[in-house]
Symmetry: D2
Subunit: 358 residues, 4 copies
Amino acid sequence: MAKTMKAAIFVENGRIVLDEKPIPDIAPTDALVRITTTTICGTDVHILKGEYPVANGLTIGHEPVGIIEKLGSGVTGFEEGQRVVVGAITPSGWSNACLCGCGAQDGAGTKHGWKPYGGWKFGNTIDGSQAEYLRVPDAMANLAAIPDQITDEQVLMCPDIMSTGFSGAERGGVQIGDIVAVFAQGPIGLCATAGAKLMGATKIIAVESVPARIEMAKRLGADVVVDFKAEDPVEAIMRITDGRGVDVAIEALGVQSTFEAGLRILRPGGTLSSLGVYSSDLKIPLDAFASGLGDTTIRTTLCPGGKERMRRMLEVVASGRVDLSGLVTHRFKLDQIEDAYDLFANQRDGVLKVAITP
Amino acid sequence: MAKTMKAAIFVENGRIVLDEKPIPDIAPTDALVRITTTTICGTDVHILKGEYPVANGLTIGHEPVGIIEKLGSGVTGFEEGQRVVVGAITPSGWSNACLCGCGAQDGAGTKHGWKPYGGWKFGNTIDGSQAEYLRVPDAMANLAAIPDQITDEQVLMCPDIMSTGFSGAERGGVQIGDIVAVFAQGPIGLCATAGAKLMGATKIIAVESVPARIEMAKRLGADVVVDFKAEDPVEAIMRITDGRGVDVAIEALGVQSTFEAGLRILRPGGTLSSLGVYSSDLKIPLDAFASGLGDTTIRTTLCPGGKERMRRMLEVVASGRVDLSGLVTHRFKLDQIEDAYDLFANQRDGVLKVAITP
Amino acid sequence: MAKTMKAAIFVENGRIVLDEKPIPDIAPTDALVRITTTTICGTDVHILKGEYPVANGLTIGHEPVGIIEKLGSGVTGFEEGQRVVVGAITPSGWSNACLCGCGAQDGAGTKHGWKPYGGWKFGNTIDGSQAEYLRVPDAMANLAAIPDQITDEQVLMCPDIMSTGFSGAERGGVQIGDIVAVFAQGPIGLCATAGAKLMGATKIIAVESVPARIEMAKRLGADVVVDFKAEDPVEAIMRITDGRGVDVAIEALGVQSTFEAGLRILRPGGTLSSLGVYSSDLKIPLDAFASGLGDTTIRTTLCPGGKERMRRMLEVVASGRVDLSGLVTHRFKLDQIEDAYDLFANQRDGVLKVAITP
Amino acid sequence: MAKTMKAAIFVENGRIVLDEKPIPDIAPTDALVRITTTTICGTDVHILKGEYPVANGLTIGHEPVGIIEKLGSGVTGFEEGQRVVVGAITPSGWSNACLCGCGAQDGAGTKHGWKPYGGWKFGNTIDGSQAEYLRVPDAMANLAAIPDQITDEQVLMCPDIMSTGFSGAERGGVQIGDIVAVFAQGPIGLCATAGAKLMGATKIIAVESVPARIEMAKRLGADVVVDFKAEDPVEAIMRITDGRGVDVAIEALGVQSTFEAGLRILRPGGTLSSLGVYSSDLKIPLDAFASGLGDTTIRTTLCPGGKERMRRMLEVVASGRVDLSGLVTHRFKLDQIEDAYDLFANQRDGVLKVAITP
């Protein structure tokens, strides 16, 4: 086995480049995974642009599909050569946060065991998946075997896109017969739409303006699509719901306008389930908050991870309940990843997600 | 029986006066209650000051204790002469909101059955309890008989103060072993402190600066009190929790500074349970929100009402689990209610709650 | 308007006959509904056989679709001539049980406000829907308007079959990615299957032996069907789940063998959600209960009712998420209801549900 | 350091003896704890009597308090010499069950990651705590540091008695204002009583006949005690609740009579929270189950474990919210453990719990 590998590395604001790096060493509780397919996330673009700071030299990427190359000496229950998917979030399993069922806020190694989005390690605090090899920490909590009949591309949305998108519906508490609005139909928003349908929402209103995304939203469960460039989404949703408002609003963009619109269209007692990564302060308008008397819930959620979560995502794929096959619109070799970033960051050519294969 | 009664009436901003009014007629599903004890709420002071608009001529007050004078022809299960307490919020029982268990957002009579804080009727959309007589709508859902051995004053906190304060802990999801901070120790905040203790919080940090309230907070369950005039409460709470933060923060004032502080001291995955009535837009600082990645929950709650809620509050009083006897600091006859407003609105003489007896 | 009507009346064990009865009077909070379509439930057959006692002379039936003939003087929000569906369970809205969100155990008029399955009134404690006219108590909590584009037959499953069946999945806490087994695929079990799918179960195992029901189960969401006449269902399900067991088992028959099998196939920490009406004591085998150490939940559920529940069921029908059109296999005029009972009670001719039209 | 240690070993039915054993070796993720205080559980007596089978030669005991003697090479966050408590249940943190928040059913090492009460390892599937030294698996998930000011005896109830007892109230969903009955006031039942009080129950009815236990029950929160030798507990509880029944019944004995009585006294929609370890099949009488129509929940719970659970139990002790100091009635050196078993197994001399110190 070679000693070095190719990896997409953050160099400075505006530059992620493919370079050579040593293949990672692994500790007894780790696994080394040879990446077979990975992808680029909107968050990676934030990193590229310098909007989210990471260390210079860090390998980017948190959506790994691959083959176990090597297992740490303490890892049991898996075999080298096994095909696996690993969540974007890799809970240790043993921190206080994890033992509370909140692995995304994993504070492994901190004094009290909680750390804000501490479960997000790949391409954030440790090297990520846009490389030939990936070190997976706490492997026994994080490796999920892929059934043979499922392709890499079919599971490529599991680590982040599906898990995050579905969690928008789950943490919103969607119930049978709910009316749900989903703001923005990028990959995460599309999976929020699919998740709302999967949980029994009977009227799903998607807010989007890009035709390809609108079409995909309809395929995945949107009953109505509001084009926010053609009409005010708050007015449109209140009209569509005949003045009632929605039970659950899911925010999947991360800006003030969608956050605020989500509040404005809630029926009293409703829930705004926020998935977006914000980059500035937010305002809650008094009238959109019923002065604090509306029994409103606002809830943010980071992608749930760990092997049990991945197992469930794989079950969804295997069952055919949700068909995300159209989400991968472009394919690149790892050697071309800089081109892939260029395409994806500029949202050219109707791109939804790219597949990167080393 | 006389045809008129005395009532505290909102006349214009700055003026609530005692005047004569017809004793209310009742419909078949109503009850007429002769008020024996009532009180003034901070919300009534907002009304007085014109910060919360109500119709000119409306009788104010939403915390009734009294005796059933007359029952509507369709009301069964109660008797004239029975001593009762009625919640500040009077759910109809039959609206869609009520049938979802969300009576505070009761939209009885609206198209879809939901209305923002529509369950709050007394002294808001119909005549209230600061009068000799009170019409109680949907009486079968709202009258709660008071056991003989309990005095009027002992139950005077049930309609709003206890029900709201406890709901701060309930909707925060307080669990055994939680660390909870409660911002402001007015009557509602004091009951939030008591509620957090009642649900098993083991470290309760109260934020307050008025000595009498600090003392009462300690009696009701606060383990530590932070005087926000002496030190920054965020710094103090982070020090007290050794940098961990709290599981649940309860906001019981209704201003930006406490709302924001509540967010800043949450551990990842924590809940800000907001009880305050706000009068301006709110800001969520990006860093207090973990950019939307912190699995944070923000939840507002309006006082739960209805006879079953009141029954539970009465059980708490009867059991002696919480002793709120010190909360009534001043007593007035209804004739003196304008003096009572003057004292209470200006927070003079260490007033916590006043008892008004017609 | 005539003074009498035809109604299917329980006379004695083994005899439900069509007879003349006075058209019901209504109280101020009632509505009178002219039945346009109704049906026969398995529970009605229990009544017919004397296995569930009701008063002699009672009109049977609890699944009403019809037109508002007359509204009580106190009923607002509805109009005479409106087409409505009413739940099998008719919560008062104002009892303590209802105010706890537990309308099926409505104890309206009892001392404490709780009564075992007290929400089930039609064809149990008051006259039911197998008649030309039906008195609906607490009309404002129970009438649900039917959108024009939906036919009577499309909503005929809402009052009981859908509401009960879906509740099997809801009270089982089905989550995205769950494995669920449903025992028996009669109308209720079929809707439990549909409900499990609607909530995101990704592997649904239906247990049934009648070919027409097996076929319908597959249409409604069953991924696998176990024919209990061909193999032991416990063995089959453990084989299908590769020894893991299911997250949720739904019992939809009401006998020891399915109750017990449901326990035996649960993974540790799983939930047995029981919908069946039992007619004898049940046994929990020690080994199927992990000696009480398995974090097991057993939960029974009576059909949720009330207009908000019906609204949600109507939304499911209108959305097309679940297509129950094949469930009505036979149609009868009210005049032929004795024949309908004969067919249905003897499960002849592949009957699933009958539609009865006065 | 010596190579051998004293340990209480199961030899055959009826015989647990103190013998010499090698001090355990530890793996990289383990810790070795020098026991300073431990105790005997009712479950250990089941083992002694052969009612619960364990391997010959196994060291018994699952309630460890001690000092870290040695940490595995992969364990961080703790120090040798630190005083710790470890839960009776030691979740791995990484199994599918653990990642679902169900560590008591930890299936670490099994195919699907679930195993009935697989989280209970000490004195069941691996050597336990009635010894001079104890190997703690998955140490980072299971060691909980004890604050200096708390004594060993004060925390001795944390590993099992408090955690299990409190879980009876937690899994019963006790709310503010609930009426709760607790069947049997042994150590677990006493902590269930304390837990119900801690969660806000306002009427707690304890069922017990031993005077010392009755007295302790009253100290810990019982408002009423029913002596089942003096009167039928079902009749008594229905009388005490004026015919209403209880919201939550907690079973803390593990026999048919208390299980059945728990069902009989539930209000409709109530929850039977079962803690007992049963040794025979159970019967659910039809009339105690409302024929399956009562919206009843029956739930069993195994002691929750892991360091975060222990941290919460320590918080309860440190806060003084619950004072369990009277529970240790007798003290023995490890050398005298056979005498301790004799006393405890025969429930002589008013014994509640014994403290064993090596």
